[in-house]
Symmetry: C2
Subunit: 131 residues, 2 copies
């Protein structure tokens, strides 16, 4: 855990990879991760955990498959949204976005079940900042 | 849990009270809270949980009593910091700040041990947004 505050923009400037979260800090057994988003992620589900999104920059779309049907929410900078556990979802960012995530340490970026993971996605539980 | 994204600025505009956190959303058994800060909070400690701060607007100071002595970290907009469990700390915002917090549901704003709580502080586990 860093002894000093971290500017999210500095953390985001330290890497280029899209859809490849970095762990900025931890809160008990949760990670605070940042990621760059561009294009489409993959439909996936976290069976046992909610997932929190905050948009730092750009615009993030999150498509959701809910009992009532499919819909897409749009988050602009400074907006937050929690995807409930068990809800299939697919983030996308047609024009790119920078995001911050809260989720339990060890949570996979592609969930417990997912469509085939395309090459541009990193299936990871989060990389340490600076790696 | 809101079915739609929430703009932190809208959430913050919905109340005026200083040092009186509102719960914006939940992530499993954790709260995402927003608060307005101005002046001094009180020295307190959360024995059993880390506490995460993100500054949305303004400047937040967090004084820390660590084994090596006392120091103060300064967070500007877009900066994050986690106060480790068991560390006495005192937030302050001489010129005001808006912040977002991440901590377990039920965590008291004045911790498990604290100095006398001045009248301008709200000792709370967080209010629902819109109340």
């Amino acid at each position: 855990m860093s002894k000093d505050p971290i500017a999210l923009n500095d953390a985001l400037a330290s890497f280029d990879a899209r859809w490849s979260p970095r762990v900025v800090t931890r809160v008990n057994d949760y990670d605070v991760r940042v990621a760059k988003a561009e294009g489409e992620h993959v439909w996936h589900v976290h069976e046992d955990t909610d997932e929190f999104f905050l948009v730092v920059d750009g615009e993030l779309h999150i498509s959701l498959r809910e009992p009532a049907g499919e819909r897409t929410v749009v988050l602009r900078p400074g907006s937050v949204f929690t995807v409930p556990r068990g809800t299939e979802h697919k983030p996308s960012a047609p024009k790119g976005a920078s995001i911050m995530l809260f989720e339990p340490t060890g949570t996979s970026s592609v969930g417990d079940r997912h469509d085939e993971v395309p090459a541009h996605l990193d299936a990871t539980t989060g990389h340490e900042l600076g790696t």
